[in-house]
């Protein structure tokens, strides 16, 4: 039988895969993609708890998370374009100065 715990475990695994990605990839775009994975793992957990406690409030939170993630991606991708235009790199290790 599928319980809420099954969904929570799936969400934890998804979150950990995203964490592996953030810790191992150096490309700024890949880091943004892995952040998206982690956002979605959190979303799955909110929806699972909304079902478990029969409360629609959890789904409203996910609605707001999706909005914030869309805004975050817009600015993040603009920064990525700026990096490649000005520094000619997308490697997070090479972007280490605050001002030049």
């Amino acid at each position: 039988m599928i319980t809420v715990t099954h969904y929570l475990i799936a969400s934890v695994l998804l979150f950990s895969i995203g964490l592996i990605g953030i810790l191992t990839r150096r490309n700024v775009l890949m880091i943004l993609l892995c952040i998206e994975i982690m956002f979605n793992a959190a979303n799955l957990m909110f929806v699972a708890y909304a079902r478990g406690w029969a409360d629609v409030g959890g789904q409203i939170v996910v609605f707001f998370i999706i909005t914030v993630a869309a805004a975050e991606v817009t600015v993040g991708l603009a920064i990525a374009i700026l990096l490649s235009r000005q520094l000619h790199t997308l490697n997070a290790d090479e972007v280490s100065r605050l001002k030049w």
Binding site: V4, N27, N40, V47, W53, G57, I66, V68, A80
Partner: protein
């Protein structure tokens, strides 16, 4: 029974696609695998009764965010990541160990009391567009209005960052 079959199918497909996102050398394959993750997640949302969120997931994530990613990746003309061999190995092993530890700790945290009822006996939180919309425009009205400021700020920020300065 049917529920279990669908749950395991979509979950395994989702986790495998997420693994491809992390491991693929070409960013474009990563984005396309993330698309599969989004669709599997939307089907899990449907199984949990969150119909509106499943639609939003497909429309907003698969439709808007990933298309934006695809545009930027094609615009930047990326080559596959280059890394020194030693550094890559260190990063991978440390990252995998950290994430495995994190998953273990989280699974300990979420250990629920035994005898939890299976989902079909739990009353479904109605995720229909009526109940979500009603809650959104009564109890959560102020946060909902504030998101418009957030999106406006994001739009202005993106346009300012992406604009070429006149002396270039």
């Amino acid at each position: 029974m049917t529920e279990a079959v669908f749950f395991y199918t979509f979950t395994v497909l989702m986790l495998v696609s997420a693994g491809f996102v992390v491991l693929s050398r070409q960013p474009i394959y990563s984005v396309l695998s993330l698309l599969a993750v989004m669709f599997c997640l939307a089907s899990l949302f449907v199984m949990l009764g969150a119909y509106v969120l499943a639609a939003l997931q497909v429309l907003l994530y698969a439709g808007a965010v990933l298309v934006l990613f695809l545009f930027v990746i094609m615009l930047l003309n990326l080559e596959p990541e280059r890394l020194a061999r030693m550094r890559l190995f260190t990063l991978r092993s440390v990252g995998t160990a950290a994430a495995a530890l994190f998953a273990f700790l989280l699974s300990q945290v979420f250990e629920l009391p035994a005898g939890e009822p299976p989902l079909e006996r739990v009353p479904a939180a109605s995720g229909s567009i009526e109940s979500v919309g009603r809650l959104l425009f009564t109890k959560y009205l102020i946060p909902f209005e504030l998101t418009s400021f957030l999106i406006l700020a994001a739009v202005i920020g993106a346009v300012t960052l992406g604009r070429r300065s006149p002396d270039e």
